[in-house]
């Protein structure tokens, strides 16, 4: 006989900040305990998207590869740049940016896409955050193949500097979880946030050196660290190109990320008990 998990539920309408903090921390803890569920849901999201297709999720790799190749051909000509120099940069930038942009857009749906589950069983909300993160990490893993292939063709291995991308990735994970909590809740309450976020990410793509190189800004380059998009992209991209991010970039990244996590936590403390009513 299968028995249910033992638990105690103690919910008060009027709670101190400490009690709110405790419930929010428990939510994270319980969500992490359900990591196998989050992993399965994230993987199913991808597997079922390509259900019935022969190549399955490999389509992710192929479409990214075709995109990078065609953009590379076009822009190396437009910008008068050497393919050997430009294509590795573009492949890496494009794949990393696609991860960030999709993650931000997906964050908006964190809770609304799991409406059915949230309304029929008590589930830590962080499970849905992990699901979004894992889904996007899996897509990234498929696209890394494109980067590896391009790096191999042009023999542009970054060397040991690449290890410095690891702390950058750690910041990404923390920011991703914060974003899913913040945007997930906010978009459940206000339905017009989603299109706003989508258009912001569209504009950010053009304003961030993804397909163009930072040095093309010439004397304006000092402005770049003010853009959180540039900072976040650079802490992972820089080391992989063999040019680790500057101290200035790191400082800005940590400031922006700290602010994001702080706001997200404050929001989650207040919103956690209300999300079920919003969706």
């Amino acid at each position: 006989m299968t028995t249910a998990r033992n638990a105690t539920l103690d919910l008060h309408a009027v709670m101190s900040v400490r009690a709110r903090n405790r419930l929010a921390l428990w939510d994270i803890r319980d969500g992490l305990r359900l990591w196998r569920l989050a992993l399965t849901l994230g993987w199913l999201d991808i597997r079922l998207r390509y259900r019935g297709s022969m190549l399955g999720p490999l389509w992710l790799t192929i479409s990214t590869g075709v995109m990078v190749a065609s953009l590379g051909l076009l822009y190396s000509r437009l910008f008068h740049m050497d393919m050997r120099d430009y294509l590795p940069f573009l492949a890496l930038s494009q794949v990393l940016w696609a991860f960030l942009a999709t993650l931000v857009n997906d964050s908006c749906l964190t809770f609304t896409e799991s409406e059915g589950v949230i309304r029929s069983v008590r589930m830590p909300f962080s499970v849905f955050s992990l699901r979004i993160l894992i889904r996007n990490l899996l897509v990234l893993a498929h696209n890394i193949i494109v980067i590896v292939v391009v790096f191999a063709i042009y023999d542009r291995w970054p060397g040991w500097d690449a290890v410095l991308a690891v702390p950058g990735l750690a910041v990404w994970v923390a920011d991703a979880l914060a974003l899913t909590m913040l945007l997930g809740g906010f978009c459940a309450r206000f339905r017009d946030i989603l299109p706003i976020v989508n258009s912001i990410m569209q504009i950010a793509f053009f304003l961030t050196p993804v397909i163009w190189k930072p040095e093309q800004l010439r004397e304006m380059v000092y402005l770049l660290p003010f853009s959180p998009f540039y900072d976040l992209l650079e802490v992972v991209r820089g080391p992989l190109l063999g040019t680790p991010a500057s101290a200035m970039t790191w400082l800005a990244t940590l400031l922006y990320s700290g602010a994001l996590c702080g706001v997200a936590w404050a929001f989650f403390l207040r919103a956690r008990g209300r999300i079920a009513f919003w969706i």
Partner: protein
Amino acid sequence: MPRDARIEAADVAVYFPLYHGSSRSLKKMVVAAASGRLGKDQQQRIVVQALQDISFTLHSGDRLGLVGSNGAGKTTLLRVLAGIYEPVAGRVRVEGSLNALLDPSLGMNIDLTGRENIALRGLYNGLPRSALPQLERDVEQFAELSDFLDLPVRIYSAGMVVRLGFALATAIRPQILLMDEWFLAGDAAFMDKARHRLEEMVRGAEIMVLSTHQTEIIQTWCTRVLWLEKGRIVADGPPKTVLAQYLGRPAPVSPA
């Protein structure tokens, strides 16, 4: 052995804000805030008082039946006890393992096979991997899907989906069982078997809370009845008295 199950609700209230049209819009909120109308706007926001002043305590052995017309707050109360809706006023404390049978197709994915859905449900319930074969055997035996278990749920007949959903939901035995009325519906042949399994589950649970319109079921299963109307408790007591009031006539004698 875990400690005794217990449910305590004190002055619980739940309001549903009705977010429709403009209150969902960020622009309207910002404009209202900027022109100092936010407070007024919030007061004018339409809220449904789904539950108000709900207080009761249940101990091990209690079987509570919820009655009331449609929209009286029965399902909302079940959701509050399940921890899905947190109270807007008052407090609720639930001690013991819990299984809420609220949605027949909870977390079921029609693109997955029956077997994959069983595994997924195990994950939703946080079961260790070692508990999975047991769960699978149990569901397989009850749902009688034979070879269909390895085919996608998408191609199942409606009856097969119900059988799988029912088998999954009732495979996990809790100390506290919360049940919504849909669980008592189904075709006759299946119902016999389903009822047998449900009765077994109810016997195994320390506390049951059941929402239904079928007064015979309340008479056979429940030891206490809560009559809700417009989110408030109208009457609370033994089935005979409350049902007599509820139906406006003496309750029919139970066939069992």
